[in-house]
């Protein structure tokens, strides 16, 4: 699984990454993390509110920092 965190580097993106790592840990899964800070690339995913969470090239979350449990739910389906 490949996970991309989209955002310019503000507190929200940091928290989203932290929560995603927690979610992965509770699921006992591993993933490759990529941080995307380039605005053109962020926008090309159709995201207009950062932070964004992209799993295997699919946008699953944008505009808010979800709790680890919710992210675990999202990842578990994949």
């Amino acid at each position: 699984m490949q996970i991309k965190i989209l955002g310019s580097g503000c507190a929200n993106c940091v928290n989203l990454e932290k929560n995603t790592r927690t979610a992965l840990a509770t699921l006992g899964r591993e993933a490759e993390f990529i941080k995307v800070t380039d605005f053109a690339e962020i926008a090309s995913y159709g995201i207009m509110r950062t932070p964004g969470l992209v799993v295997d090239e699919e946008v699953v979350l944008s505009g808010r920092v979800a709790k680890p449990a919710e992210i675990a739910d999202l990842l578990d389906k994949r």
Partner: protein
């Protein structure tokens, strides 16, 4: 009624009961705030409330509690209300709109759409790349910080509904007109070319779909916490300075230098306000104290709007998508709007 139905109803009742209890507690605290500090500062500590020290101390504690309550209440309501609105829906509403109607709508949506300055650039690209005209996009981007929910909460508490309505109305007018002018000037050549070349791919995820009412309430509570955590130092410094001005600055001290009859008052307020990067939380307690010392409302509104709407960090962010000439034009047009509205208010409301 089945067991499953009962289970889904009980948390809903508990949620509404909690909301009702919170509303009652909020109202009670708001009502006892002044009598409590009158009693504690005047009766127990025995400071004379008519002296500088007494009124300054009273002002500091009373205002801190009042402002914290107002912020918590209004940020909560605004967050829950706004959770039904999203940038995605806003873009869909603006797509294909003509200029004019589009600018008015964009300014209004800029106020109600949940949005923070770190999303200004992706939102700009998203709007322009999907065909929303540049001027309409700018109306949205100008209105969003200019009409700010923290400022609305504070204005409502410190000055009442009249000045609050003036603040919202003037912000909408400034954003609409500034966007219209930028649209008419045909400044697309001053947008970084990559914005127009960006191709949107994939399915856009609307972050607000599938949220339950309980989720929205939780988001409201979290937002109150995160905003208060972020702004409390500004708030305390602002109220502290306000208390000093309140207690020590002589009446009409400021009015003498920047009052309604000083033709440069508004201009000076904007020039001082732009580089003074702060947020409404720090500025408004100060504005309140300055108002009580005779500064006119128009000058103070201009000062506040310049401080929150034309901040350097936002300009630096926007530099990624706009060429310096367009940023300069945007700052100039918005400043002219703020100054014009300031003079207008001073003419209509001299004190």
């Amino acid at each position: 009624m089945s067991v499953i139905q009962q289970r889904s109803i009980r948390p809903a009742i508990r949620l509404w009961a909690a909301l009702a209890a919170a509303a009652v507690a909020w109202t009670a605290l708001y009502l006892v705030n002044q009598p409590f500090w009158d009693w504690l500062v005047g009766g127990v500590i025995r400071l004379d409330l008519t002296t500088r020290l007494g009124s300054g101390v009273h002002f500091f504690f009373y205002d801190t509690v009042k402002i914290a309550l107002l912020l918590a209440g209004i940020i909560f309501l605004v967050t829950v209300g706004r959770s039904y609105m999203s940038v995605e829906r806003t873009r869909a509403l603006l797509g294909g709109r003509r200029e004019g109607v589009g600018n008015v709508l964009a300014a209004g949506l800029g106020v109600v759409t949940p949005f923070c300055s770190c999303s200004a650039v992706p939102a700009f690209i998203g709007f322009v790349a999907s065909g929303v005209p540049l001027g309409v996009t700018m109306s949205f981007l100008i209105a969003s910080p200019l009409v700010n929910e923290v400022a609305i909460a504070l204005l409502l508490g410190l000055f009442g509904p009249g000045p609050t309505a003036l603040y919202i109305g003037s912000g909408l007018v400034i954003a609409t007109i500034a966007g219209l002018v930028i649209g008419r000037l045909k400044l697309e050549r001053w947008v970084e070319p990559f914005v127009f070349e960006t191709r949107l791919r994939g399915q856009v995820v609307d972050s607000t779909i599938g949220l339950s009412f309980a989720d929205r309430v939780r988001m409201g509570v979290e937002e109150v916490g995160s905003i208060l955590k972020k702004i409390w130092p500004y708030l305390l410094v602002g109220i502290g300075l306000g208390a000093v001005i309140h207690g020590w600055a002589p009446e009409n001290f400021f009015a003498q230098y920047a009052g309604a009859d000083n033709p440069f008052g508004v201009l000076i307020a904007v020039v001082v306000g732009v580089p003074l990067y702060s947020n409404a939380a720090g500025i408004l307690p100060l504005v309140d104290a300055l108002h009580s010392k005779g500064l006119p409302m128009g000058t103070l509104l201009a000062f506040m709007q310049a401080t929150v709407a034309l901040s350097l960090p936002e300009m630096i962010l926007l530099r990624r998508v706009l060429k310096p000439k367009l940023i300069a034009t945007f700052v100039a047009i918005t400043s002219i709007g703020i100054i014009a509205v300031g003079y207008l208010f001073n003419a209509v409301l001299p004190s």
